[in-house]
């Protein structure tokens, strides 16, 4: 009885594509920035994604996990990730040097609804590592500046040295087509010339907005959501135009392994971008 069969699966959703690390640099003491490119140049250039989507990144021997894409689809070729050192896999990622090979598959999930957001004011509020997914949508808006009305950015960090992309954001303040406000919770070094206080103290600086034509985007540490959403509600931004991106454990990215299940949805295929209305009617979201 020979029941062994030869199987060749052309389309294996779990198969990572090889990619090379192009550059790495520290953003803060425990957050590093990675630029990677698929070794197959055709794949690198044809890789289409939406701001807010994520990819599964793997390092041989250490494992695989979801990471949001920090680069913008408006700048094809390179994929960028902001990664904080947290465990076994991220330890291995931190040890990567230029030209090292990693595995990437994706893009996965539902990103920000860029098409629907066109023509509206975009208010982006980010804190801490929340920059990672929101940088993608910010760059996308700036690269397609004509498609959007006002773009407002509020960015908070604990201290100036904890601010991810600090120099880049300080540079962005010079742009006239972007209202960029930065804040740190405290500054013992005394080098900080911008606002001091939690990110919500920046809200009064925003010139009056038209809430029915505004999208509010938020990502940051868990404690931040409630306070920022309260501010959005005070500004009368509709609940289904308040967008946030969430984190869950994932082992597949394609709705099979079950780890990211919340109620009847899977964060990986129905998210990771959700509206505040989703959050209200699916209690476990935040």
């Amino acid at each position: 009885m020979n029941s062994k069969i030869e199987t060749s699966i052309q389309d294996n959703a779990f198969l990572p594509e090889p990619a090379r690390v192009i550059s790495t640099r520290y953003l803060t003491k425990d957050v590093k920035f990675f630029q990677v490119r698929f070794t197959d140049m055709e794949k690198a250039l044809s890789f289409k994604y939406e701001p807010g989507q994520f990819a599964m990144v793997s390092v041989l021997g250490a494992g695989e996990a979801p990471f949001c894409l920090s680069s913008s689809p408006s700048r094809p070729g390179l994929l960028e990730f902001c990664i904080q050192k947290k465990g076994r896999l991220t330890d291995a990622i931190f040890r990567l040097k230029e030209n090292d090979l990693i595995g990437v598959r994706g893009p996965y999930g539902k990103g920000f609804p860029a098409k629907e957001m066109e023509g509206n004011d975009i208010l982006i509020v980010m804190g801490g590592l929340g920059v990672a997914p929101l940088r993608s949508v910010l760059l996308y808006c700036l690269d397609n500046r004509d498609l959007f009305n006002r773009v407002i950015l509020l960015h908070g960090a604990k201290t100036p040295t904890d601010m991810i992309f600090r120099e880049e954001f300080l540079e962005l303040k010079k742009r006239e087509d972007l209202d960029c406000f930065l804040s740190v919770d405290k500054d013992e070094s005394g080098i900080w010339e911008e606002n001091i206080g939690v990110v919500t103290t920046l809200f009064p600086k925003i010139a009056a907005i038209d809430p029915s034509h505004t999208y509010g985007l938020v990502c940051g540490p868990p404690v931040m959501y409630k306070f920022v959403i309260d501010e959005f509600i005070k500004l009368k931004i509709p609940k289904d135009r308040i967008l946030m991106t969430l984190e869950r454990r994932m082992k597949c990215g394609v709705g099979k392994c079950g780890h990211c299940a919340i109620d009847y949805i899977y964060t990986c295929i129905d998210g990771p971008v959700f509206t505040y209305w989703d959050v209200i009617h699916m209690r476990e979201l935040i």
């Binding site: 009885m1 020979n2 029941s3 062994k4 069969i5 199987t7 699966i9 389309d11 294996n12 959703a13 779990f14 198969l15 990572p16 090889p18 793997s58 041989l60 021997g61 250490a62 494992g63 695989e64 996990a65 904080q84 947290k86 465990g87 896999l89 991220t90 090979l101 595995g103 868990p222 984190e247 869950r248 454990r249 082992k251 597949c252 394609v254 709705g255 099979k256 392994c257 079950g258 780890h259 299940a261 109620d263 009847y264 295929i269 209690r283 476990e284």
Partner: protein
């Protein structure tokens, strides 16, 4: 759909022919009163007089642990060695419904080749069954099955009526057509009708599943869940035996001295402690009650909202498996207002003391 007749004495000759180039898996006795699906070489091992096997058929499509890839720095070599040509004989309607739910799940948005290849290479030969007090399949409407099998055998004493459910099933019959009879006598039809009526009457347990999504919602904060959480051992047995549990974990296991890794996929359960844990130590469902709630929300609420029927096929495996009596039957009853089982109350009090 075509139905043919097979004399009982012709069953083994038929199995003999069709198992020539595939592994035959069938129910067999394990210990005194338990059954398992196992690969059988000797047909005498087959015991069709069974209610439920310990593990559901998904066990031999996706075994507890499979290797997805053998990976080196330069190449990920997919491994489909768990896929073999199989014939699953003696599968009950509830388990066929379980496979149908898995089919839907594993093809939703993305295909899962590790399941689908195994499914494609397995022939499903269903078999009629008789309920015990733990069978809930009449309530879940999975006590009869119209699709998802290649052949289905209904035992009418001296004969089987054999439903041909697929083109592949038809091919099997054609391997030895003279074993089968095309003409089904009136007498056979009458005995089938009687068998159906008797079987329908044999179901003793019933739950109203249609009310579950609303009840789960209304009782989201009910103290019931805390009591259940205190009684639950978080052992994951319910997930291991459930025909529709599909969660898995993936591990990258480096092979010492070889500079390569085995990327393995193994069963997981949402009732286990670190199931919803993320990097940095955050755990979205630290409490056992939250994890149990997810299990039951998924089966009794989410799936009904999405597909119009529960992800429970009423096989009763959780009923006979859970060491502390938390199962679809008791939880549904408690949600339905029949009060919390005194056993849980006592257990919950004892645990908290």
């Amino acid at each position: 759909m075509k139905i043919v007749k097979l004399k009982k004495e012709n069953l083994y000759p038929f199995l003999e022919i069709i198992s020539k180039d595939a592994d035959l898996w069938a129910p067999a006795k394990k210990h005194e009163d338990r059954h398992v699906f196992k690969q059988v070489e000797d047909f005498e091992q087959i015991d069709l007089d069974y209610t439920r096997t310990i593990l559901p058929p998904r066990n031999f499509l996706l075994p507890p642990e499979i290797r997805m890839f053998q990976a080196s720095k330069s190449e990920y070599e997919p491994d489909f060695s768990h896929v073999t040509k199989k014939i699953l004989f003696g599968v009950h309607p509830c388990d066929i419904h379980g496979l149908l739910i898995m089919d839907k799940f594993y093809t939703h948005m993305f295909d899962d080749p590790y399941f689908l290849e195994a499914r494609k290479n397995a022939l499903i030969l269903g078999h009629s069954c008789w309920p015990d007090e733990n069978c809930l399949c009449k309530s879940t409407n999975t006590h009869i099955v119209e699709e998802g099998y290649d052949l289905f055998f209904t035992d009418l004493g001296g004969n089987y009526l054999v439903w041909i459910g697929s083109s592949r099933g038809d091919d099997l019959i054609r391997m030895q057509p003279d074993l089968f009879e095309e003409d089904i006598a009136d007498q056979d039809i009458q005995s089938f009708i009687r068998w159906r009526e008797d079987r329908d009457k044999a179901f003793s347990t019933e739950i109203n599943f249609t009310a579950m999504p609303d009840l789960m919602e209304l009782k989201y904060h009910d103290p019931l869940w805390e009591d259940l959480g205190r009684a639950c051992l978080a052992c994951g047995s319910c997930s291991n035996v459930c025909p529709t549990c599909n969660c898995y974990n993936v591990e990258d296991n480096p092979v010492l001295g070889k500079n390569c890794s085995n990327i393995n996929r193994c069963w997981d359960s949402c009732t286990l402690e670190y199931y919803s844990g993320v990097a940095g130590g955050e755990n979205f469902r630290e409490k056992r009650s939250d994890r149990l709630k997810l299990w039951y929300t998924h089966k009794l609420q989410a799936y009904i909202s999405k597909y119009g029927k529960p992800a429970c096929v009423g096989c009763g495996r959780c009923v006979v498996t859970c060491p502390v009596d938390i199962n679809v039957l008791t939880v549904a009853k408690a949600l339905d207002g029949n009060g919390i089982d005194s056993f849980w109350k006592r257990l919950s009090i004892e645990v908290s003391q």
